[in-house]
Amino acid sequence: MDDNRIEEREEIERISGVDVRKCMRCGKCTATCPCYDEMEYHPHQFVCMVEKDEIEPLLKSKSLYKCLSCFACVERCPRQVEPGKLVEAVRLMVIRQQGRNHLNPDMIVKKLDDRMPQQALVSALRKYSK
């Protein structure tokens, strides 16, 4: 169990290139996050929880798909921890598994409307499916 958790952490660190130990718990990332109200786990919690190998709840969390990937947290972190990349890495851990795509091309039809730019569709597919 423990070994599995550590492997998951190492995998996330490898994908994201984030060193969670660099975090000094200032909360700048969460303070700056535009999706705060939508998220169950906030950027600083991603960092803390990955450090403590508590990855399971993150993998199940809806927060993974609420993150805009705006990278404000990455831009403003005083210690260059890059929490946004960490969120992305956890999301990749999920969608890289068989049948875990968050968005499939056939789901798009329902979501189409006149105001949706083409580019949003492309990046959503990139972000939410493998």
Partner: protein, 663 residues
Amino acid sequence: MQRIGVFVCHCGTNISATVDVHKVAEILGRESSVVYSTDYQYMCSEAGQNIIQNAIRDRHLTGAVICSCSPRMHETTFRKTAARAGLNSFMVEIANIREQCSWIHKDKEDATQKAIAIGRAAIAKVLLNTPLVPGESPVTKRALVIGGGIAGIQAALDIAEAGFEVDIVESKPTIGGKMTQIDKTFPTLDCAACILTPKMVDCAQNEKIHIYSYSEVVKVKGFVGDFEVTIKKKARYVDENKCTGCGACIEKCPMKKVPDEFNLGLSNRHAIYIPFAQAIPKVATIDAMQCRMLTSGKCGICSKVCTAGAIDYKQKDQFIEQGYGAIVVATGFNPISLDKFDEFAYSQSKDVVSSLEFERLTNAAGPTNGVLLRPSDGKHPHTIVFVQCVGSRDTTCRGKEYCSKICCMYTAKHALLTREKYPDTEVYVFYIDVRTPGKGFDEFYRRAVEQYGVHYIKGMVGKVVPRSDGKLEVQASDLIMGEQLHIDADLVVLAAAMESDKSARPLATMLTASMDTNDFFTEAHPKLRPVESPTAGIFLAGACQGPKDIPETVAQAGAAASKVIGLLVKNTLKGNPCVAQSDELMCNGCSSCEKVCPYGAITYVDKEFKMPNRTIAIRRVAQVNPAVCQGCGACTVACPSGAMDLKGFSNKEILAEVDAICR
């Protein structure tokens, strides 16, 4: 006819924002005897001082009143200004309209009225002032350093370097202090012994430095430049001049189970002992409470094995009297007792240790030869929990309200070194705040976290429960995750608050040096005179003034030494002319003043007085030694007949001030 000048300072906006300075100058200018009145932005600046000097010369002033900041700040400045213009310095009065008026009031109208009243009082006083000339007293060119830790050692070396004799008085059998017990020093991790012991040797070899080890200061008389100090050399039952420090006596001593205070009781020593290998002086000391020969008269083995014939069971405490020009206080600190912190199970489990004990457990010269082992079973600990702020920032009776300052850094050091030496160990640090201001300090702490993987957790440990399987159950909070944690630890380390040494309070009484409520010595000015006590001739170095680390202590010791040198190079000191004097005709010889005088400046003499009808009466009257009197004024209050008066602060002058305010 007196001619008084009034000078009102704006102090930028410090005074002028709340006091109408023009109005003050204008109204005080109308007082009788005032011939000149003005205001200026900064009276203490060169331009401001020129205004005062020119007015004194051009208007032939006989007295000056400066309405400005506290006399503690600039009285000396303005007295010198007056002297340069040919006016006696003691014909200058300061009306404090900043600290006692503008800073504490908001209403401009009221504050202005008050400033005028304060100014009027000063005018009333200066009208009664008489020119005073300070006397001179000689300077004894020798310094005393009380405490032989790193602060005392550095101060002594620096004073000796300038060519003055220095005596170090140390209560322990060796100099070196707390730094001798420390393994490595943050943030550079150089070995404490490697940088301290050469300095200890320098002290021993310097011919200007004399070390009184195992000694205490028991009496201090006199004043700056001329202190008379009595030093008690406690009997160590070993002749310091004969002992070679060979250690033969220690090997043979049958009393082997005495808790070793150098290792904080983590190991035992003999009744005759040398605290550690590099002790200075390297001379044995007999613990009189434990020695069989001294307690029951049956033993005497050490005396038989000593080839130098140094053992002397009949040695008595020796009292040495010595004169000094200046005294450096460097009495240092101790960790507080952890007896009252039961929740951490300090008294229940041997595996709950203080940080200084942990220091000994990791010290190459410590009880485990530097191998980190649990005190209970001698096994290697795998999970270590450090708890910060134990007793620091604690306003209850069991703690200290201040931050002990060094704990964050030494805990980071302990955690980092543990992870470096034993990578299989999990290290947790529970903190309220991590405070690491200092050169390379925050980088060091971050290195502990980022490179060495120490788990820093924001929150406190609630309780530690020793379990029967030897583990310590630690219950703590993680405030960032918002959860309670349970950790099974092998060792718990408590960063105990530091407190001033117990000897500091009685010493402060002897020196008439002031202390704060935490028994730390008070500095003359917290920013501008940080190494001087308000009592002239007393200087402060190290943790006796407040919690501080080694670099700060050494810096302060050097600064204190430079102040001492500045004092000792003078051949004479100008005294304070504001001393007490007794009116012999009014004195009734009651001795009240003699009893209250803290400096022993008052003596009584029998003196002949001419009486009516050509008779002569002999009366007992008080006499003040102006060289010893410090002008505290206690005698003037105690005198029932009003015979005792303080020059520069006479009863008449004070009452004139009161009258002026009430007018």
